[in-house]
Structures are given as C-alpha cells and as structure tokens.
C-alpha cells in the first residue's frame, strides 16, 4: 500500500549549517509532494511543494529535491537558524486523490 517514510526520526545540526531532511515514498503514481513545518503546539505550516514533472524547486532558504527513480524526496534548509527547530513532515498525493499521505516526521534541533 501507500506509505511515506522518513530515514531519520531526529536530526541535530549546528546553527548556520545546512540541514537536509530526507523522505522516501513507495507509490510510483504519486505526483505531488509537500513539506510542512510543525512547531510545538501549533498546526503544520506549509513550506514548499513540488510536482512530479520537476526535480527541484527553490524557496526562501529552502530547496526541495525529488528523485523519482529511487522514490526519494529531500528538504534542504540553508544556513539553519534557531527558528528552524521543529518537526518536519513530508506528504505525497496521487493524481485524482483527495488526501495527502503523511510521513511520521523528523525533529530538527539546532545546536548553538
């Protein structure tokens, strides 16, 4: 069945370094992918998304990479800041489906 998983449940980085959060998916029919940031006690916040006809998309300090060959998605955060501390979720969706399938999340902590 469909599943979206994360390689690491936690990630600790030094402030100022780049962070890379990885996500694997199993459904080759998935055509839409999205990353959310969730701070403690708050609802998930949209970060960036990408469709399957693209390999890379950039936002402000964030880049999402999609490798459809190995069904792998990653979120890169440049110059990580203390405010980036949160749990990051990836999610995927197949064309025509109404729902997103979420991964379990990666907790990103920033070391000063």
């Amino acid at each position: 069945g469909e599943s979206v998983g994360l390689h690491l449940p936690t990630l600790s980085v030094q402030e100022g370094d780049n962070s890379i959060i990885n996500c694997a998916y199993s459904n080759s029919a998935s055509d839409y992918f999205i990353w959310y940031k969730q701070e403690s006690g708050k609802g998930p916040q949209f970060i960036i998304d990408i469709r399957s006809n693209m390999d890379k998309r950039q936002g402000q300090r964030v880049t999402v990479l999609l490798n459809k060959t190995v069904k792998h998605l990653s979120l890169q955060i440049a110059a990580t800041q203390p405010g980036d501390s949160a749990v990051y979720f990836c999610a995927e969706k197949t064309e025509g489906a109404q729902k997103l399938v979420f991964g379990q999340g990666t907790r990103l902590t920033i070391n000063p």
């Binding site: 839409y32 999205i34 959310y36 006690g41 708050k42 609802g43 998930p44 916040q45 949209f46 998304d49 979720f89 969706k93 109404q98 729902k99 997103l100 979420f102 991964g103 379990q104 999340g105």
Partner: protein, 111 residues
C-alpha cells in the same frame, strides 16, 4: 487572504461525554475541508474530508463523525468520548490546488 479558525484551542472532557469541534475558513469559496488527528509525537491521521456541503468521506471507522452544514464550516463530533480520542485535532482546507493549509488545532484530553 485566507484564514482558518478552530475552536476551542484546548478541551478537557470526561469519558462518555459528547464532543463538538468547529472549524471555519474565511477568504475562499467551496474549499475542500479535512479533519486530522495527531497523537503525541506522531504523524497526522486523516479522519474525514469534504468536497462540498453535506458531502463527508470517512477514512477511519471510529466513534467520531463530521458534518459540513455550511460551505466554510466543518464540525467534528462524538456522542460519547473514549480515552483513545485524546489528541491534537487539526482542520485543513484546500482549493483547486493540492496544497492543504492547516488551522491552529484543538488539544483534546479525555479523562
């Protein structure tokens, strides 16, 4: 711009009591609406979604129900709460794109 509201923000209820959580969206018309539950330290579980007034799809069999009495209002209910219903309940909306936007959530504790 679009805004999504949820209330109450927190709720403590005894086992067996009823539940009503409300979600409203502003600034858009005919949105798709979603209810999720998130257990502590876990991912999001889709409970219900709605593509229009009176149209509800259930993803997980349980003692919860959802209703959409108005275009931008989505309600999550239960007649009798269980301990296992405790969690963080999130409402989300989407338009013709696939991006879902989440509300601030309701923290429910069933004692």
């Amino acid at each position: 711009s679009q805004t999504i509201h949820q209330w109450p923000a927190t709720l403590v209820q005894p086992v067996g009591s009823p539940l009503s959580l409300e979600c409203t969206v502003e600034g858009t018309s005919n949105p798709n609406l979603y209810w999720y539950r998130q257990a502590a330290g876990r991912g999001l579980q889709l409970l219900f979604y709605s593509v229009g007034i009176g149209q509800i799809s259930s993803e997980v069999p349980q003692n919860l129900s959802a209703s959409r009495p108005q275009d931008r209002q989505f309600i999550l209910s239960s007649k009798k709460l269980l301990l296992s219903d405790s969690g963080f309940y999130l409402c989300a909306w989407s338009d013709y794109t696939d991006t879902q936007y989440f509300g601030p959530g309701t923290r429910l504790t069933v004692l």
